[in-house]
């Protein structure tokens, strides 16, 4: 049994079955294929993802505890790792025992988790500013085109631009609706063709990560 599970053929067979079900359902329809599709992509995908989340959570907890226990770890780091584990387990226990609609969980979510997430996301504007200063330089003609189109779209998005000059809206929209459109479509077509090529290689068992 373990030989079958460890074999290189098993993943290829499973991939073929999945591809045939998904493609068959999309192109040929039918109740049986639709049921198989739903079971495969909804039920099994949820099961695999949830098991993986549990494995991942345990891996993180184990790693944090190992770092906290190591002798050469600094006291501050040890305290932070232990405190993080304690917080994670506490929030998990609150959510599971009291439910996500409880007032305690709502408080934790709205006043601890939500501000933390949003704070880190907000870092993007600082990094975008430094990236703009560092990278948006007209070193050559391509960079100049990038610079001008970037400036036009920036001004189009700024509400104040229409008060400065109405042309910013039109020019910025032109960049987005015409130039960006062409580039996006080209990259989409190329990417999808690349995905088909990768799929063919996987189905032929010629993709290196699956073993040859």
């Amino acid at each position: 049994m373990s030989n079958i599970l460890k074999s290189r053929e098993l993943p290829i067979v499973l991939i073929w079955i999945a591809v045939l079900i998904i493609f068959g359902d999309y192109f040929f329809g039918g109740t049986a294929l639709r049921t198989a599709f739903t079971v495969l992509t909804v039920d099994w995908a949820v099961i695999i993802t949830n098991i993986a989340i549990i494995v991942g959570a345990l891996a993180v907890l184990q790693r944090s505890l190992n770092i906290a226990r190591r002798e050469r770890t600094e006291k501050v780091e040890r305290f932070m790792q232990t405190w993080t584990v304690f917080l994670a387990v506490s929030i998990f226990v609150i959510g599971v025992t009291l439910g996500i609609r409880s007032s305690i969980y709502s408080w934790v979510y709205n006043y601890i988790l939500l501000p933390s997430w949003q704070t880190v996301y907000t870092l993007i504007i600082f990094f975008m500013a430094t990236a703009s200063y560092r990278a948006y330089r007209a070193n050559n003609s391509y960079a100049a085109v990038l610079l001008i189109s970037g400036l036009l779209v920036l001004m189009r998005n700024a509400p104040v631009s229409s008060s400065i000059w109405s042309g910013f809206q039109d020019l910025g929209s032109w960049v987005l609706d015409v130039v960006n459109l062409a580039g996006t479509r080209a990259i989409m077509i190329g990417a999808m063709i690349g995905a088909i090529s990768l799929l063919i290689k996987v189905l032929l068992a010629k993709e290196k990560i699956l073993g040859e």
């Binding site: 599709f37 992509t41 909804v42 500013a129 948006y136 509400p159």
Partner: protein
Amino acid sequence: MESDAKMSIIQKIGYRKMIYLLVLVATIVPMIYTVGLPVVVSKQTSDLYEFIEKLPPNSNVAIAFAAYAGMYPDAQAATRAGLVHLFRRPLNIVLWHNSPDGPMLLGGELKYVKMGSRIYGKDHVILPYVAASEATTSAMGTNIRGVFSVDSFGTPLDQIPLMKNINKATDFSLHIVMAAAGGNEEWAVRQWNIPHRVPIGAFTISIVYPALIPYWRTGAIVGMTNGVRGGAEYESLVGAPGPGLRRTDILSAVHLLYVGLIVVANMEMLKKKRSEK
């Protein structure tokens, strides 16, 4: 001498920290001193508004609420205005969650929605969370009951009056994706619009907006909003001022700061090139 002293201060602080400080000022000052600049409504936003406004009464609208907590402020204004608009119109709404943060965030937004004479189960239903993926979007398109058997309160779908005649994409007049972080709109186009011809609307974050323009041009997406600015535009159309219109000044200030930084950087580069020659 004076310029040398100034340069040494900048050199001491470092250009990165100077920029961070400028960004901080550009966000805080407009919060305190608001001007309330008007917003020009873009075609994409007005198309979405017009489409929803012209839906016949008792049309069924599907909403995939895909908000993630971290980036939600970008789409919050549009989402709130969109929900106000949709619930104001005599439409039947079926909403489901495509993110684990959705149930918590939706509760906060529905406080701003006037339910009026709406009765849960008759004209609106909230389904639970299902992991967002193209496969689940496709599965929802052909058999909602294959994905959900109960609503978010545990009531079997067959016992909900609104859901008696709704089970697949073709039962809907419009499918809206709200506050998604990217991907959900394209899945909706591929799995609801192309096979079933259901129009798609998107209240989206600004990062995703340029990637959806090809779909808007072909008509697969009937309209979409662009982050905070799109939210401000939609709020002005709906007549429900909210976080979008409050943030237009901050948006303008930060955008102008970015433009200023780019101009300064290029001037420095030109100066350096000339001095090298």
